[in-house]
């Protein structure tokens, strides 16, 4: 059964098709308002999430479908010790498609291997978050008109930031992009991502700890939050959490058409004064995420019916 566990599960052609559908939904929302009538999305969220869960729910409602599910592990059978595999088999009897978030890496794959309906990975620990990448891709497409010839800076937590890994993977399949990796030494992009993606695909990259030295080069600045939940040691978190804070002053050197992105939630890494700057795109990303999730649900349900 086709699902989406990792962004690389989809070819660039499939991603283009999703973007095309999402753009058509934006243009003609009424045409899609009953596309999923009679269908149910199960949102299985084993850890807290505002944006992603509500985005999936809003997406399904706007397609005319219904939503069932839970929003924390304690209100599901996992509190009684039920395995992800058994939950996936059970939910397959009730719903038409699953969106699952779980704190453990690989949980969505286990669900996919056991469900008889499509499974969408809505985040599995620090591993993958492919629908955030879909939101990011649509944002880049709408802001920049395509995915090639871009200078993209990733800033903050590049070690545990799953959205960064997924987006780098997705963009590696397009030509002439240049990547700037801006992070403290402790939160550098893992060497296997550099080696397996950037080096393998011959993508030019620059690694630095200094945001201001490269900000003038960038077409896109992708900020990330240092995530408390990824640290075993509170001291390390406290030491690193304020490594980069984007302010209007730092933006003085940036291009006029820079696009500032962030997967959200933000803590303090983007000063609120930037929210009104025309270069801020992070709330557009949220909206784009809903459209891409609509396109994804449609695609997976159509393929499941074949």
């Amino acid at each position: 059964m086709k699902g989406l566990i990792d962004i690389l599960d989809f070819s660039t052609e499939e991603l283009d098709e999703l973007i095309e559908t999402a753009c058509d939904i934006i243009e003609n929302p009424a045409d899609y308002s009953e596309k999923c009538k009679g269908k149910k999305l199960a949102t299985l969220f084993y850890e807290p999430s505002t944006r992603t869960r509500l985005s999936f729910e809003a997406a399904m409602y706007e397609l005319g479908g219904n939503v069932i599910g839970f929003s924390e592990a304690n209100s599901s059978s996992s509190a009684k010790g039920e395995s992800v595999a058994d939950t996936a088999k059970t939910i397959s009897c009730y719903a038409d498609i699953i969106a699952m978030r779980h704190p453990k890496e690989g949980a969505a794959l286990v669900a996919k291997n056991n469900a008889s309906i499509p499974v969408i990975n809505a985040g599995d620990g620090g591993h993958c978050h492919p629908t955030q990448t879909l939101a990011d891709l649509l944002t880049i497409y709408r802001e920049k008109g395509g995915f090639s010839g871009l200078k993209i800076g990733f800033c903050g937590d590049l070690k545990f930031g799953r959205t960064v890994h997924s987006l780098i993977n997705a963009l590696s399949r397009y030509e002439d992009n240049e990547v700037y990796l801006i992070s403290p030494d402790e939160l550098k992009l893992p060497s296997y991502v550099k080696k397996d993606v950037l080096v393998k695909q011959n993508i030019k990259y620059t690694q630095t700890t200094d945001l201001e030295s490269v900000i003038g080069e960038l077409d896109i600045l992708y900020m990330t939050r240092v995530q408390r939940e990824r640290f075993f040691n509170e001291e390390d978190y406290l030491r690193l959490k304020d490594s980069y804070i984007l302010t209007e002053k730092k933006l003085e050197k940036a291009k006029a058409d820079l696009s500032i992105m962030h997967p959200l939630p933000r803590v303090n890494e983007i000063s609120v004064e930037i929210d009104n700057d025309s270069r801020a795109c992070y709330f557009k990303q949220v909206l784009n995420g809903k459209y891409m999730r609509m396109a994804l649900i449609l695609k997976l349900l159509e393929e499941a019916e074949k």
Partner: protein, 138 residues
């Protein structure tokens, strides 16, 4: 040091020095009834030093694991005291329940019934990764 020749069984030769015990453990040779010899740091013209494992008897063994530990090792099959076949074992594409994922964030760390599966992702550098969390096998 003398170790008797074997009549029916296998000799795993040209094992990288130091990897013999690991292969012995992974093959589960501590649990078989037949005679098994592990010889470490044998002088070798080609390799300088090597390890050898001799198994005297027919036992069900997953020889794919030789390819995982050391694809350069050779497997010699002995019948009636004669060498019947000599071959190398390619690195297996998948390892199932051979090694465990050590990532505490992996789903296998909390769901005990899941099989531990690793896929060969980089043959040149002998890299296997967990199919769930993509952590590199040690």
């Amino acid at each position: 040091m003398n170790v008797d020749s074997i009549l029916n069984g296998v000799v795993i030769d040209h094992i990288e020095a130091g990897s013999g015990m690991r292969l012995y453990d992974l093959l589960g040779l501590d649990e078989v009834d037949v005679s098994v010899a592990i010889i470490k740091n044998v002088t070798s013209r080609k390799m300088g030093k090597k390890d050898i494992i001799k198994i005297d008897g027919e036992v069900p063994i997953d020889f794919d694991l030789i390819g995982f530990v050391d694809p350069e090792a050779t497997l010699n099959i002995i019948k009636d005291g004669k060498l019947m076949e000599k071959k190398r074992i390619d690195m297996p594409l998948e390892l199932r329940n051979v090694i465990k994922c050590k990532n505490p964030r992996c789903i296998t760390s909390c769901e005990q019934e899941l099989p531990h599966v690793f896929k060969l992702t980089d043959k040149d550098n002998k890299v296997y990764r967990c199919i769930y969390c993509e952590t590199k096998a040690n």
